[in-house]
Symmetry: C2
Subunit: 476 residues, 2 copies
């Protein structure tokens, strides 16, 4: 068996694995990165990038149609073929040579194959031609991410459902699409495929609202947006049974309320599961199929010797590309510091810890309206025992929004620690609200008190002026 | 003569006057506000609002045309009549009843007429029917703003040039438009009228770039945008002489370089002058026609007794609606506190001072590309003696921007105090960059150090991810 030794072995070459490798190399270490599929990972090919490529023309066209003057000029039909071709270009036609070149330029060694932990500081990589053994002098990093969860609904797996992969890469719209779940993948892809040609889209969500982890108004406004687009939203229901007798024929879904929905494809948007089922985590006493529990330095809990780390979705802290990259930067630097015997900075908000995972995770749902949020919702903040006061404001009443789109619909809310008077969370819902949230992230992370935020004057007439309105609601 | 007494008399009912009045009333004081023209001021009728109403459809259409899929659907022509009608609606057809209703609901007394200081705590208001004398128990606030400057170029005044008022309210595009100056009004209105039907637009700027007070790359990128739209930009030149022999005929301009430009209208965008020529400021020892100098509490310098204040454009601190409103909030609260014998909070970043005027003034130029900036440019920071390090990044290389528009063109730059490692300024240029700057404003005002900003993770794939790229340029 071929045995190679590196300072660091990283399993998984998505954005998290790439970034942790890059930081470790910059810190003077040698790094091997193991990847069984495409370098660049889920985000580049089957998630963030293709979903936004599918959605952007839909939203750009809707935006032009909401302004007198451009409305009249934008009356043509969305070009579905051009949209799909653009999506294909944005995912590099499922070809990772660009990412491989980046690895090379960054000085990272790529080992293609399926990697598995095989004991302390030891990773076996199964390749078509045989097995490579990688030993790590300093650290092994698990960064394998997640896979779509397929819950045990009778008939679901046999019906070969779409997951986020098929939903972002499909070459044409099914005539009828059934979407299971009301989370981010579900609402984004429902909206995309409805605009790209689906005649019937039905979203079935068990809970009492869409986007259940966001502020309730966010789910309500997105539901209005979907319904305005002709999508049927069924709440407080789920699928009891799926049938697809003819593998090339339609799917028949029986809901818990007895309703029957027939569709040409069914998309499962019911969450993710960590990609740890075949990762050898049992060799270090961890449970295959579960998340890999870590502390704020990404060190795997319960494993002695400071050699095993897990970053990105696989640790379950925050299932978002940007948050995985954030963890990766801190971790790559920490591994290099520890290898070099340099000072560690693991205090709260230090260089080598991912403090923001607990306090300031931002997320944007790219529907129309968009949902941009950071930190805690009101209910999360109250559940965590914070003293809470909230303020809200109708984004449509902000001059900048009214100028941006006629009849602009949106809402903004701040969740504030009423004793310290610093932000705990913020949510902005509305067309093009995605870029509004970073100001809240900075305020939250910087722990900038409300009294100081009064001096951060948004430019008139931007949509960011909602900040002034929110402060006015708070009161001087 | 009718004599009325109020706690506070405010001269000028633009956004600044309205806000200082509102805060004073909320603080328990009686307020009379004097206005010679429309309540709501320049911004509502002849500046911010109509200019953005004219520009937004142009930019919304351009945005849709930059994305494959929507491009094909947005191939019609901008509807000029619809754009102008929308502009007219957004300025309430030059009718201020909505604003008057707001004054009433806020408990502010409107006195229509031309107000003039006539000694200590005393304002005379000249109305068509006679004169009203207003005495102020606590404070007189000057908030008359500015007027377009008409420099002494031979023939210019006689040629009856467009100012910002005519440029934002015109009912049709002239066939040929000559624009004097390269500032905000000049570049915004050049772009608007070119798209709305001008066959020839020429911008003549004396300096070596457009938008001379912004970072040099901002002027360069806006120039490219204007030139791509078919606008001619002439730098390092100015108009020596203007002739308009037939008052209904064309204008002939002779430039300093000898060039002759013939146009149907000429727009003067050569700065503003304070509206103090007929304000009675000589009765308190100030110079008519000059700015009214104030300290950080907006108290007029050189006037004893703490009764005279000036807020908004008229004090020359920052000629922007939002900054005037900011000063107004602090001032209204201060006047109420002083009247009630309450504590004053006039320390740096306190409630009753306008500290941000020196440090964190944000501004957006609504051209395509947009220019959104806050704080100091690099050259301003160096001139002020700060230790400076800057970082820049090509916005088009950010995934969120590439998804937003094909071939996205833009650039971002941070100006950082290299010792304290806090922001001094930031500039974002590119399509839809307007909402990117508020995060910088919060960072600047909150004095959030770079080490902490690493924890403010922008959501992928938004344009705000440029923050990560800028930090990476800075280095960990």
């Amino acid at each position: 068996m071929d045995i190679q030794t590196y300072d660091v072995v990283v399993v998984g070459a998505g954005p998290t694995g790439e970034n942790v490798s890059d930081r470790a190399v910059r810190g003077g270490l040698s790094v091997a990165i193991v990847e069984a599929e495409l370098v660049g990972g889920e985000c580049s090919y089957w998630a963030c990038i293709p979903s936004k490529a599918l959605l952007r023309p839909i939203h750009a066209l809707a935006a032009a149609r909401r302004v007198p003057g451009s409305r009249e000029a934008a009356s043509g039909e969305l070009d579905v073929a051009a949209t799909l071709a653009h999506r294909d270009a944005m995912v590099s036609r499922f070809e990772d040579s660009g990412q491989v070149s980046w690895l090379e330029s960054a000085g990272i060694t790529l080992v293609r194959g399926h990697g598995r932990l095989a004991g302390e500081r030891f990773v076996e990589v199964e390749r078509p031609g045989g097995t490579t053994a990688l030993t790590a002098r300093h650290a092994v990093v698990l960064a394998t991410g997640t896979r779509p969860a397929i819950p045990p609904i009778p008939g679901l797996r046999e019906a070969r459902p779409w997951t986020s992969r098929e939903a972002t890469s499909a070459a044409k719209a099914p005539r009828r699409l059934l979407v299971l779940g009301g989370g981010v993948v579900a609402v984004e892809m429902a909206q995309a495929w409805r605009a790209l040609g689906c005649q019937q889209v039905t979203v079935v969500e068990r809970g009492d609202r869409l986007l259940g982890r966001t502020e309730p108004f966010a789910g309500a406004l997105v539901q209005e947006g979907l319904e305005d687009a002709g999508i049927q939203v069924v709440l407080r229901s789920s699928v009891r049974r799926i049938e697809r007798p003819d593998p090339r024929g339609p799917v028949k879904a029986t809901l818990t309320d007895g309703r029957i929905i027939v569709a040409d494809e069914v998309l499962v948007g019911l969450g993710r599961q960590p990609a740890t089922t075949d990762l050898g985590v049992d060799t270090v006493g961890l449970e295959p199929g579960s998340i890999v529990p870590v502390d704020d330095t990404m060190a795997v809990q319960g494993v002695a010797g400071r050699w095993l780390y897990a970053a990105g979705d696989v640790n379950g802290r925050a299932l978002l590309t940007h948050q995985g990259k954030y963890q990766a930067r801190a971790l790559g630097d920490l591994i290099a510091a520890r290898a070099g015997g340099l000072a560690e900075d693991t205090a709260r908000w230090g260089r080598h810890v991912s403090t923001a995972d607990h306090a300031a995770v931002a997320q944007v749902v790219f529907t129309d309206p968009q949902v941009a949020s950071v930190g805690l919702t009101e209910s999360q903040a109250r559940a965590a025992g914070h003293p809470v006061r909230t303020v809200g404001y109708d984004l449509g009443k902000v001059s900048g929004a009214a100028l941006h789109a006629e009849g602009y619909i949106g809402h903004a809310k701040l969740v504030v620690d009423s004793v310290r008077e610093v932000l705990l969370g913020a949510t902005f819902v509305g067309q093009d609200s995605a870029e509004l949230v970073h100001a809240a992230t900075v305020a939250l992370v910087g722990e900038v008190p409300i009294s100081r935020l009064w001096h951060a004057v948004p430019s008139f007439p931007t949509m960011s002026e909602v900040w002034l309105r929110l402060l006015e609601e708070w009161g001087r």
